[in-house]
Symmetry: C2
Amino acid sequence: MSEARDRPEVVVLRIGHRPFRDKRVTTHVGLTARAFGASGIVIADFKDKAVERSIEKIVRVWGGDFWVRSGDSWREVVEEWKKRGKTVVHLTMYGKSLQGALSELRGKDLMVVVGSEKVPREVYEVADFNVAIGNQPHSEVAALAVFLDRLFEGKELHMEFKGGKMRVIPSERGKRVEKIRIGGA
Amino acid sequence: MSEARDRPEVVVLRIGHRPFRDKRVTTHVGLTARAFGASGIVIADFKDKAVERSIEKIVRVWGGDFWVRSGDSWREVVEEWKKRGKTVVHLTMYGKSLQGALSELRGKDLMVVVGSEKVPREVYEVADFNVAIGNQPHSEVAALAVFLDRLFEGKELHMEFKGGKMRVIPSERGKRVEKIRIGGA
């Protein structure tokens, strides 16, 4: 958890994953969670080894200790989290405005729930906060990215991911990548 | 263009769309472009009526005048835009940092290019700016959302979409939606 030590624990819970239709979108949710500073993701209700592997491959190559798990019941995951006295935030186009919620959320350990098209009514009820990233339909990937970017105030984009095999050298034209030696930097 | 009158024109160009694999991700790119204040999207190189229809349906129900077009050659779209003296920004994990680029981009009409996994080398060369939303692999949907959110400084989330049939009433618990009468408000 080295790179996340100075920030609270944020875990993403992806609900409503359907194995055929959502493979790529759920992978995007996972990679976005990692790149924007979450510690890990639970993909609920359906065990999807292919999505797990896609995300884990990125972790091996690019570093950090982001984790992924799939197949757990969303209710149990949420209950377990709440039993530990922690906060559940559900991102939805129907919730209250992001700006108002942020001050209450910063600094807390959070479970961030993102759904797909159909979200059970119950999710709105068990969440401590239903937060809207705008009140228009768009994408759980977009909602998660903007939520984490605002929560961490942009600092997550400068986070270091330790232990990877590759690192990007930012450049104006094109792809500069540095290969990292094992044991070196 | 009522709701976008006070901001510059931002058009999204989605390249590398593959009809089977990317249908849902490209739809998410389109809906994110709309919800975060772009005027329209061009899906390059492959005519995809199904994706066009999904996005247009959202516009009919939720309002605004976001447009979608597919099948154009990305090179021609970029050339045409540049011929009009306008700026092309390519979002990529290899580019220069977002924070540095923003001050040069605000207030300009922009074409924002987002790719999928493989982006032709040439794109990096024709773009006026290659901008990274972090230097980690994640998602073109996430990159676009955070880019537009930062560009418009969060104001896009309060934008009004005129002429829709539905409007969300933000609420703490659940789904409150108002149906809008034709001719009324």
